[in-house]
């Protein structure tokens, strides 16, 4: 094995570990939905290459309203689906689309685009 090979192998392995950590590694942060006067826990979510924020913390038993705003034309993200709550919404570009539901049980729920490419997580406390 030449020194070049050694460098390439090491770099490749580091890259692989890096990719794995980057996409699957532990995440932190999250946005807590704000409680509005109407009694809703509201959060604004930007849809562009992903959901921003993609981790939303809400409390159980209180209605949640997530306002989605899609700012891209890629058809991938034209729909957001909350499989666990049986809710879905089409997101026309540039429009604010509210999705409302009441999370009854604490836990972690995911939401995603229809093809499951973009992911977001809802943590219900």
């Amino acid at each position: 094995m030449t020194p070049v090979d050694f460098v390439v192998i090491t770099a490749g392995l580091l890259l692989i570990v890096g990719i794995a950590w980057f996409f699957w590694g532990p995440r932190q942060g999250g946005t807590r939905a704000a409680l509005t006067s109407g009694g809703y826990q509201e959060a604004m979510i930007l849809v562009k290459g992903g959901y921003t924020p993609d981790l939303i913390v809400v409390q159980h038993g209180k209605p949640v309203r997530l306002n989605f705003r899609r700012e891209e034309t890629a058809s991938c993200s034209e729909m957001v689906v909350f499989g666990d709550f049986g809710k879905s919404a089409k997101l026309p570009e540039g429009e604010i689309v509210p999705v409302e539901f009441v999370p009854d049980k604490p836990g972690e729920y995911t939401f995603a685009c229809q093809m499951g490419m973009l992911h977001g997580k809802l943590i219900v406390e």
Partner: protein
């Protein structure tokens, strides 16, 4: 209504343009239209108002239209398609010179002009590099847009893979042109601009075709939305006026002429007609409607003209509810997709890891020029992977399948319901209102010797005309249907629990059960045996006595719907066990069960125990579907794995039901099962295809065939394959549009 408040000189007026509250005195401008004054917060609002004067001054729609966003969505899609096509042509055009000049050694004239390693060639390659920039920046823009956002979320998708692939090829080529000396051998300083442009062109073409095909999957819902009537002719203040359908209010009297579309839901108040309801119920035979009957908005009036009172308008109409249900269902996920989602989550990063790993392996172990092979393998692996095919597989088929159901009057609530419906092993049919019409009809008239049937029925009906018993109307309607003229009954008296008595045409008439006659010491004679036979068939016999003598029997029963027998047979052909659930006594239930051909009869079930019976079947390990009316059977529908509610006219949003059958026919159950089977078969084909494609394509791209067969895929072929794969998935889903029921009729 903001405009009304403006006219009443309120403390605050509302700007009709921006809806801001403003004081009339502090308003920037005002306009007088007729008796109304409008106030504006700014010059812009006033200007806009002047331009849209007519619209702003009109009262505006009273109700919300069914789906105002659809046309916009269609426009968006059409525009996106146009753009993609343009992007494709641009990339394709640039690709021609790029491909030719990248390999001058294969082209006779160019070979001599641009010999390998010459300065001219390097300059030409440098120009090619510049030419490819607009291809990446415009044609390939969707791959790069959002990549930062995605990476910030530590997410990646198909676009990320393509972006990395084409950039890698471009960057390598750039280095080769600018710094050929850093390569250990001259043949390594190659350019791959052709990969960048051709891959971009092919993938963009794939996206365009996919978008087009995806648009077709939602054709069913577009058809439904197109059904909506545009205008309504209503009677207000005694005058006929044509108004937009959005402005029809509940309780408006609507006039419908022959051949016109019924604008909203309502109850017929005057006239009668035949109405084609096939677009909503899937029932092809026109339905006769009389005063008091429900009419459904967007169905087609055929022969008569009539008036009806609007009961549901705007988003409450049956059509609007159907559209909403179908849209929700099309957006829902089938359980099978949860698995796919898990795979998708790992898919893209895994492909990146595989691409890096195979590039390293090729560099270290591969043949010379190793660097070039490593690059090709890296790019090919990234490009061939098609997470989109996996992701598209389920939703596109569901969209077509659920839309197909709606076309046939079957509303499938969710992907979940659809997936479970195809696994149904037992279907429980509630007898009353499901297998039968749910309304008694006259079935038998028996006359004792010395009397004729006509007299028996005529006298019985004349007496029953005064009664409120549910069987009474069956007898009266039966007599009228036979053209009998009924005389007045005098001295009508109901004997609670036994029957009725009255004097008709001078005769003393008794009509009721055996006890009514025996109490008056009237012998039943032969009739008693006959009555028992009738009762055994599930009918309700009543004795008739004329002047103290038993004269005959009148029987009524809830009759079986005309297509129930055929539908039950069809379900059995689909391999489903059919059970009938009823509160009737076992003998009666068995008799009806035999008549309609069910496998199993669950008799003497109290209404509150229906859910329990369903549960008992489930405990036998069966996947159970329950068909009922959605109101009395709600708990049983909810208990069943799939609850199918038989529609009740315009109320289609039945909460407890997983599937709503808008037409009352059991044929809908057969159709629902068939549609779910066909759709899930399509989903499986798609998933299988996408899975096989990726699990074969990726290893081949990584060069697994090279050691044995010397085969290595070019990135351009990979791009073609990947574009074709997602188009194939959507096209396969579109095949469902031509689906026809096999067993249902």
């Amino acid at each position: 209504m903001p405009l009304d408040t403006a006219t009443k000189q309120p403390t605050l007026a509302i700007d009709p343009i921006c809806k801001m509250e403003i004081g009339p005195n502090s308003a920037f401008a005002s306009r007088q239209i007729g008796a109304e004054t409008f106030y504006f917060c700014s010059a812009q609002c006033a200007h806009q108002f002047d331009q849209e004067k007519d619209q702003a001054a009109s009262p505006g729609p009273a109700t919300t239209a069914v789906a105002p966003t659809l046309t916009r969505e269609e426009q968006d899609q059409a525009r996106e398609y146009q753009t993609l096509v343009k992007k494709f042509w641009f990339a394709a055009t640039i690709s021609v010179p790029v491909v030719a000049l990248s390999y001058p050694s294969f082209i006779p004239v160019l070979r001599d002009l641009l010999p390998a390693g010459s300065l001219q060639l390097r300059i030409v390659w440098g120009l090619l590099g510049l030419m490819t920039i607009p291809v990446m920046a415009w044609s390939g823009s969707q791959f790069f847009i959002g990549i930062w956002a995605a990476l910030k979320h530590r997410q990646a998708n198909m676009h990320t893979l393509i972006a990395i692939g084409i950039s890698a090829a471009w960057l390598y080529s750039g280095v080769a042109v600018l710094f050929p000396d850093i390569f250990p051998a001259m043949e390594l300083a190659e350019v791959f601009y052709d990969v960048t442009t051709v891959v971009t062109a092919l993938v963009v073409l794939g996206l365009a075709l996919e978008l087009k095909a995806k648009g077709r999957t939602s054709e069913a819902i577009k058809k439904l939305i197109g059904l909506q009537a545009k205008t309504a002719r209503i009677i207000r203040d005694g005058k006929e006026t044509d108004i937009p359908v959005e402005e029809v209010l509940v309780n408006d009297i609507v006039l419908v002429r022959p051949g016109e579309k019924i604008p909203v839901d309502g109850t017929l108040t005057e006239g009668s007609s035949n109405i084609d309801e096939s677009m909503i119920t899937g029932e092809s035979i026109p339905v006769e409607k009389h005063v008091g009957d429900e009419v459904i908005g967007s169905t087609m009036n055929q022969t008569g003209s009539f008036r009806f009172r609007a009961t549901k308008v705007g988003k409450d109409t049956a059509l609007a509810q159907i559209i909403r249900l179908v849209q929700d269902a099309q957006g829902s996920k089938a359980p099978i997709q949860r698995v796919v989602d898990k795979v998708s989550h790992y898919f893209v990063p895994t492909v990146m890891i595989l691409a890096v790993a195979s590039a390293v392996v090729w560099f270290v172990l591969g043949p010379q020029p190793a660097l070039i092979y490593a690059l090709i393998v890296f790019v090919t692996t990234l490009i061939i992977a098609c997470p989109c095919a996996l992701g598209l597989a389920t939703p596109t088929s569901l969209t077509v399948g659920i839309g197909k159901g709606a076309e046939h009057g079957i509303l499938i609530r969710s992907g979940d319901a659809l997936q479970t419906a195809q696994r149904l092993q037992t279907i429980v049919l509630d007898k009353t209102g499901t297998i039968t019409k749910g309304k008694p009809e006259l079935t038998d008239v028996v006359a004792e010797r010395g009397f004729d049937e006509g007299t028996v029925l005529r006298l019985a009906a004349a007496v029953e005309r005064n009664s409120e018993h549910p069987l009474a109307s069956a007898i009266v309607e039966g007599a009228q249907a036979r053209g009998l003229v009924l005389s007045e009954a005098l001295g009508f008296n109901a004997v609670p629990g036994h029957g009725v008595e009255a004097e008709v045409e001078g005769y003393q008439v008794l009509l009721g059960n055996a006890k009514l006659l025996t109490d008056q010491v009237i012998g039943l004679g032969q009739l008693e045996i006959k009555a028992r036979q009738i009762a055994d068939l599930g009918k309700t016999p009543m004795y008739l006595a004329i002047d103290g003598q038993a004269a005959g029997i009148i029987a009524a029963a809830d009759t079986v719907k005309p297509d129930s027998v055929a539908a039950i047979a069809a379900l059995k052909r689909l391999g489903i066990e059919v059970a009938m659930l009823t509160g009737d006594n076992r003998r009666t239930a068995e008799a009806i069960g035999r008549e309609v051909g069910v496998d199993r009869v669950l008799a003497e079930v109290l209404p509150q125990d229906k859910a329990h019976e369903v549960q008992k079947l489930q405990l036998e390990g069966k996947v159970v579907g329950m068909v009922g009316d959605g109101i009395n059977d709600a708990p049983a529908l909810a208990q069943a794995d799939v609850g199918l509610a038989i529609g009740t006219g315009t109320d289609v949003a039945i909460e407890a039901a997983d599937i709503t059958l808008i037409s009352g026919s059991l044929n809908g159950v057969v159709m629902a099962v068939e549609i779910s089977k066909a759709t899930m078969r399509n989903v499986t084909q798609n998933l299988f295809g996408a899975f096989i494609y990726n699990s074969l394509g990726i290893p081949v791209a990584m060069g697994i065939l090279y050691p044995m067969l010397g085969l290595l895929l070019s990135p351009i072929l990979a791009a073609a394959a990947m574009a074709a794969s997602s188009v194939t998935v959507v096209t396969n889903a579109n095949r469902l549009r031509g689906w026809k029921p096999k067993e249902a009729f």
